[in-house]
Symmetry: C2
Subunit: 227 residues, 2 copies
DNA sequence: ACATCTCTTTGACTTATGTCAAAGCACTTT
DNA sequence: AAAGTGCTTTGACATAAGTCAAAGAGATGT
């Protein structure tokens, strides 16, 4: 219990809460360990609560009738997921599986509902959280509808380069998963990477990628320039 | 002022609040009238507050570098928009224009922030609101990424038929706007409608559409069957 | 080192959807 | 009614991206 309190402190959703509020949260939280590839919930399952990632990584995704998948989110330590169906009362809107061995906290719906009603700060954190996610979704919708795959990839690479040290960066997901994140398939992604290499925009070998022509990538990502 | 209170009562975001809470909201709300096509905010504008539609209709959309638009939402009476940037502090994520002559209420950020901190019920309403919208976005992402245009159209028609009286239904947006809502262009939409007519799935003339083969549409919408 | 997987790349091909241009319709304005 | 304006439809065409199949590369375990 005590160590759960400690872990809660690093979670943005719970930022700035009082000690007693942490304890109240810790009291209702349930720990769960999942090995890689474990199904946490399926689309349509009744939302009996939501989760926080302590360690590992969880993939939230939709699957089409013929098996293609679109990743909606990849959540890492400190991030929460499944809140939405706690509040809409509808089933989960997508599937969730662990991408790697992971440790989760589960917050049951009823108990958490009671808590949030008495903690305005928690409610406001939740609002901020949902707002950020909505913004992110708006961006994904824009990308899927208005950009071509090279544009989405360029945007992703530029974004990744901000977070990573100078020079070389390393993809933190497999290329197949990256394809799904960008709303395409591995073959298409592979071809586009090859083309970007040929045009000296990037230099990639395996998961290592170095940006050679930042401006060129920006033109593709933002101005819709063709590859 | 008094009549503003009356109008607030019909707004889901404010459902179930007390009389004094309505009055507090009415005190900070500003009225605004917009004629058709008026720009309410642009992507990137600082979010100084959010809006509620009293009458009319507002279109929230993204535009690509080369002018194609993707509608994110069409909001009608009682619905609110622009909340997200109130809580993230970032600029508006998309553009908003009135689709027809409309009357809006504007809630300034600061004042509303103060209110929501003291009204747990209001905060919970906001959470429910954002959650619903997130779910809706997840559906749009799924459609854009995993369904083809005929599937999206079939889904839209089936959805519309639920809300409308038996038999014939009338499109409540122009076909150009419908195309933008479905993530495509008018030409493509037109061709697909023509094809659905030829295959006796629907019978459409102008904005009037009658569903002839519901099961057939469902196969296209849900099972990805080809047109 | 070898065999076995899984992931990635490449090639040839198909197809859905976008582009461009023109014609058709419907509505308003005069 | 005529003329203008903005939607919608249709046709011919271009192309981005998916499908299918096979080969290559990298890991992992025995």
């Amino acid at each position: 219990m005590v160590d759960v309190v400690k872990q809660l402190a690093g979670i943005p959703l719970f930022a700035g809460l009082s000690k007693s509020q942490y304890e109240a949260l810790a009291r209702i939280a349930l720990r769960r360990s999942c090995r890689k590839g474990e199904l946490i919930f399926s689309e349509g399952d009744a939302g009996t609560g939501f989760f926080v990632v302590l360690t590992g990584r969880v993939k939230i995704f939709k699957v089409s009738a013929d098996g293609k998948e679109q990743i909606l989110h990849l959540f890492g330590p400190g991030e929460s997921f499944g809140e939405v169906s706690v509040f809409t009362g509808q089933g989960f809107p997508a599937d969730a599986v662990t991408a790697v061995q992971s440790a989760l906290l589960f917050f049951p719906r009823q108990a958490f509902g009671a808590l949030i009603q008495q903690n305005p700060a928690l409610a406001l954190n939740m609002i901020a959280q949902l707002s950020r996610r909505l913004m992110q979704f708006a961006g994904l919708i824009e990308d899927l509808s208005l950009k071509e795959v090279p544009g989405r990839l360029a945007k992703y690479l530029l974004f990744l380069s901000e977070t990573s040290a100078a020079g070389v960066m390393t993809l933190d997901v497999s290329k197949g998963q990256l394809a799904s994140l960008l709303g395409t398939i591995p073959e298409t992604l592979s071809r586009i990477l090859a083309k970007m290499n040929r045009q000296e925009l990037i230099r990639s070998r395996g998961a290592q990628i170095r940006i050679l022509d930042r401006r060129g990538l920006e033109e593709i990502a933002l101005e819709g320039k063709k590859l």
